[in-house]
């Protein structure tokens, strides 16, 4: 307190001095030596950990091979996923790989005259009668058919899902093969290749798409189950409640012995920063970070919100939270 402050307090200086002296004589509590030692040790570790982090450690020699391996694994995985997806979504592949369209028509139709391309307007889109596998490269169509055959119960007729219109379309000649590139890109159109595609292939492709949808539907609930935050939140809440219980019992805290309760955790925190990635966009400002915490909390990801808030406090220890803000 400065002299100016004392004057403004409207208190007799003698009384103020007595109060201050009495309080200072009275208030003598100090932190336990174990806490002192833990904090000082953590500070020493933090200081001494810096040069070792800057120095290339043994792990740095593994960094390049690990990166290459990770890239390879990711590439192979992506390739496999894309090829698998392409087999089940041939319409998507159609726009990307138009080359197979140039194949000649099937046997028995070679001599038939073909209409002029890009003159005839595209026929009305009838999704059921569209031979989606018509533009799929033969290898893809074969692999799709094999997959569907594996998924189809033995003895089930392959054409059972094909409506009569589609069967007729597979057998009857199509009037038009004219297609522009734009119409191809926007949606799959009937083409001359549909005529050369056997009806069994068409039905297999159709049932293959259904199988793919069924597989997607079967996978999604599992993904949602994995995304449920309760499994992660529950143990943490239990741990915190246990911590609160232990905090409420001073006798227990005295039994903790030489090492204080949070000494190990905080010492670990001295060298290991929280889980938020250093370049995360919300870390640019304290307000953005708090908004991110709110978003996490709103999404029910309470554990992540708490971790993010703890990291926020480490980064912005001086930041004053807005009035009424409830920490996660």
């Amino acid at each position: 307190m400065s002299v100016r402050d004392d004057r403004e307090l409207d208190l007799p200086p003698s009384d103020l001095a007595k109060l201050e002296r009495l309080y200072r004589d009275t208030a003598r509590e100090e932190p336990p030596p174990a806490v002192d030692e833990a904090i000082r040790a953590a500070a020493r570790r933090a200081v001494h950990a810096r040069p070792s982090l800057a120095r290339p450690a043994l792990s740095s020699s593994w960094r390049l091979p690990l990166s290459i391996a990770a890239v390879l694994v990711l590439s192979v995985t992506l390739t496999l996923m894309l090829s698998d997806r392409g087999a089940h979504l041939p319409a998507t592949r159609e726009a990307a790989a138009p080359a197979p369209r140039a194949q000649p028509p099937a046997t028995g139709r070679v001599g038939r005259p073909r209409p002029e391309p890009a003159v005839t307007p595209p026929p009305p889109r009838t999704p059921l009668s569209e031979p989606t596998s018509a533009v799929v490269p033969p290898k893809l169509a074969e692999s799709t058919a094999q997959e569907v055959e594996q998924m189809t119960p033995p003895g089930a007729p392959a054409e059972r899902n094909v409506p009569p219109v589609q069967q007729a379309a597979a057998t009857a000649p199509r009037p038009s093969t004219a297609r522009t590139l734009s119409s191809e890109d926007s949606a799959p159109q009937p083409s001359a290749q549909a005529e050369q595609t056997p009806a069994s292939n068409l039905s297999r492709t159709t049932s293959g798409r259904e199988a793919a949808e069924a597989r997607t539907a079967a996978v999604n609930p599992e993904a949602e189950t994995n995304a449920m935050p309760g499994a992660q939140v529950e143990p943490r809440l239990q741990a915190e409640s246990r911590a609160d219980e232990s905090a409420g019992a001073p006798a227990q805290s005295k039994q903790r012995g030489a090492l204080p309760p949070r000494a190990s955790a905080t010492a670990a925190g001295a060298t290991a920063l929280p889980s938020a990635s250093p370049g995360a966009p919300w870390e640019a400002s304290a307000e953005a970070w708090l908004k991110h915490v709110d978003e996490l909390r709103g999404a029910g990801r309470l554990a992540e919100a708490r971790e993010s808030f703890a990291a926020f406090r480490l980064r912005y220890p001086e930041y004053r939270l807005p009035a009424g803000y409830v920490t996660p």
């Binding site: 208190l11 000082r40 309760p261 939270l321």
Partner: protein, 203 residues
């Protein structure tokens, strides 16, 4: 020799050593640059004040110890980002205030929860054979004063503690608690008036 007595006997904890040391801000900068010994000195200067501030505010020794560790660990983590913009004590007690507010928010508590088993005068010197009456009277005064401090409204109590434990001025208290200087002055004035009134017979 116990570790506590060893800590007290350490040169960093003696008042003479403290006064021979450079100011807090310089010590903190040195700590940020990698000087661990600077932290020891800094810690020795402020450990008691920060701990008592937390203890009086949350009223529970175990919780105060936990918060105390958190605050110092935050300081350790933030050492490289420290810039001298104010008195170091203001910076430190701002960290303490923020951590305490986080704690209260998390607990959804309107105010501190006091641990009845925790005797605030446990470390007060016991009456000896010499001058027993005076010491008994001192202990009564101490008990009364701590009771009065405990009964203060949280904001007034915090202002009083920051002025006593952190030796902060009104401007610094206002900075640490996020209020205006006039508000801090008003709170401190009310707090002192209540303490003086309660201690009228004993002063």
């Amino acid at each position: 020799m116990t570790s506590q007595s060893a800590a007290v006997a350490s040169p960093a904890y003696t008042p003479a050593a403290m006064h021979a040391q450079p100011p807090d801000e310089e010590l903190m900068l040195r700590f940020g640059a990698g000087d661990a010994a600077a932290f020891d000195t800094l810690y020795a200067r402020h450990r008691g004040g920060v701990f008592r501030y937390l203890l009086r505010q949350c009223g529970n020794r175990a919780q105060a110890e936990e918060l105390f560790q958190d605050i110092w660990m935050n300081l350790v983590q933030a050492r490289t980002r420290y810039r001298v913009q104010a008195k170091f004590a203001t910076y430190l007690y701002t960290l303490a205030h923020n951590r305490l507010m986080d704690h209260f928010r998390r607990q959804r508590a309107a105010g501190p929860v006091y641990d009845q088993q925790d005797d605030p005068l446990a470390e007060f010197p016991a009456p000896s054979t010499a001058e027993p009456e005076r010491l008994v009277q001192s202990r009564q005064q101490a008990e009364r004063l701590l009771d009065l401090v405990r009964e203060l409204p949280p904001a007034q109590r915090e202002t009083f503690l920051l002025s006593q434990e952190g030796e902060l001025s009104l401007e610094q208290i206002a900075q640490a608690t996020g209020c205006t200087r006039e508000t801090a002055k008003s709170r401190l004035r009310y707090a002192l008036a209540k303490l003086r009134e309660g201690m009228q017979e004993l002063l």
